[in-house]
């Protein structure tokens, strides 16, 4: 419910909102740069591949200016959002989990990387049982790997754990390994 409420005090510059507006302006700049890089054949000059990018760029510039204007008039954040402090520690741990997954998924395989991410994210959200979470993460990652990936025919990077299990399943089926 972000209503621009009647302001008794003179409006103040809202820094986070200003940064968002400037960021969007930078995005529009990137769009302009990439649009200029599109080679245009004179054959298509009227309705070529750059018409829409230019329209998009113009729209983004206009919108970012409007956002910057709104930021200078005090921003648009709802009060409840402003009053709740950001839990940087929890966010940091979740982000750490994501980065760990990104870095480890190729060397360790999907399951192991997922378990590490699972434990870090749980810890970030306030769980204090890393061992239990690790076990739960393992079960879930294996369920995701075998149930989801295999059923959908999606090929997921296998690591040590997956290869062992695939070999085991292959041996049990007594034939070709998965």
């Amino acid at each position: 419910m972000s209503t621009s409420d009647h302001q008794a005090s003179p409006p103040r510059l809202a820094l986070p909102e200003l940064l968002i507006g400037v960021g969007l302006l930078a995005c529009a700049g990137a769009v302009a740069w990439q649009t200029l890089a599109i080679p245009v054949s004179p054959l298509y000059s009227k309705v070529g591949p750059t018409v829409f990018p230019y329209i998009t760029m113009a729209g983004m510039i206009l919108l970012s200016l409007l956002l910057i204007l709104a930021a200078m008039r005090g921003g648009w954040q709802p009060d409840e959002e402003k009053e709740t402090p950001t839990d940087w520690k929890a966010m940091g741990l979740v982000a750490a989990g994501l980065v760990a997954n990104l870095v480890l998924i190729q060397p360790l395989g999907f399951t192991a990387a997922s378990v590490i991410m699972f434990v870090l994210v749980c810890f970030g959200f306030g769980s204090r049982h890393p061992l239990r979470d690790a076990l739960l993460g393992l079960v879930l990652a294996l369920a995701a790997y075998f149930g989801f990936a295999k059923a959908l025919g999606v090929n997921i990077g296998a690591g040590l754990i997956e290869n062992q299990l695939n070999a085991l399943i292959g041996a049990m089926l007594g034939g070709k390994g998965g």
Binding site: T35, V47, F52, A90, M117, C122, F125, F148, L152
Partner: protein, 507 residues
Amino acid sequence: MDTLSHLAHGFAVAFTPTNLLWCLVGTTLGTAIGVLPGLGPALTIALLLPITYQVAPEASFILFAGIYYGAMYGGSTTSILLNTPGESATIVTALEGNRMARSGRGGAALATSAIGSFVAGTLGTLGVAFLAPTVVKYALKFGPAEYFSLMVLAFITVSAVLGSSSVRGLTSLFLGFVVGMIGVDLQTGQPRFTFGTAELLDGVDVIIVAVGLFAVGETLYMASRRYAGKDEIVPLKGSLYMTAAEWARSWKPWLRGAAIGFPIGAMPAGGAEIPTFLSYAIEKKLSRHKEEFGTVGAIEGVAGPEAANNASAAGVLVPMLTLGLPTSATAAIMLSAFQSYGINPGPLLLTTQANLVWGLIASLFIANVILVVLNLPLIGLWVRLLKIPAPQLYAGILVFATVGTYGISQSPIDLAILYLLGAAGFLMRRFDFPTAPVIIGMILGPLAETQFRRAMTIENGDWTVFFRHPLSLTLLTLAFIGLVGPHIWAWIEHRRRRGPEHVPGDA
């Protein structure tokens, strides 16, 4: 009747054992993800998109439709018992439903919402079956100029008219355009917005965008808000069966809700928020138990909006199946599933893919029956699902997000893009930018561009074509009114009252 024979044929398709099984899987999964906060139908269908490489189109669309309908049913359970709307369309249900649960009438609230969803869902699906062939008749006369103008109208309504701010909605839409343009331009073969990298030549997969915005962004947001108040689950008290008085108070709101929801959903504007708020306002006005609204909870305030929500969800399928025009994030992702089969949704879909369309519509009737069974006698199961603690729930969502993304091409670059989009999704959530227009812009933007260029090519680059065709001009005028009308209206109101302006409800 033509429609009836088509429908009979559709039931023959839907009643095959495999398709029934897909319907059951979809509705069960849909209810589960509707109940779980942080998961929605758009995200779930995006994660399941790879299934389109495995099974027949009928099977996957029956599955997706089951998820789509199921999430509407499941979302109301969460709204009533937890007061955290699982879906944006069930915000209104939480208003009265949660109050009813707190005053010990949770059972009746769940019953009226499930049965109301069934009634309205069935009426809405009938509406799809009978309206779709009519729309097709008109749509066949559309040229590229009309299509483009219609898409402009849809862009304006989904981003600027609905939601709390037209500037922020349009910003989301334009970001979607940019993402949609990444990759090789299909008409000239020129790479666009690839920053010179080979990885971006194929474009950004809609799975990555949906998962990044909805799963990763949502998880980061929830982590950042851990200081905010916790919601408690209201224990389910009272019988699940409504008394005669409750039936008497429910059936009219159901029908009114369906009558409001379906037409609004079927318009190229879409969105379930407006019909639910509208239905709530009407029921509050008409009710003989006004004192219950906002205090102990009025059953009309649950029955009406729930019916409106489900009927509008059905209505959204009309522009989607007849014009190829998605008006919600979920519909946009379903459109990309059509594209993955090489099917172009549009006026010809009903004739060229009769099996698919009518099988899908028939399966929606079956889904409604399954869902009312799943959501009333088996409600205890879903309540247990609500008790999954947040740490493990969100960590689990991220594991599945990784599977879905990494599975596309086993490239860590995809994961990096996913997490960047997740960061963007967090900022959007934090600063009140709607995320659905990004998905719609990304899917519909390239289609609008194609129609635009087609129209321009036909007319030799004369852009006045969009204003010379009467229908195209009408659509563009409507879009313009939608864009500036509310601002002029707010300005007039502001001048008249010289008080603070109020925007009714953001969504």
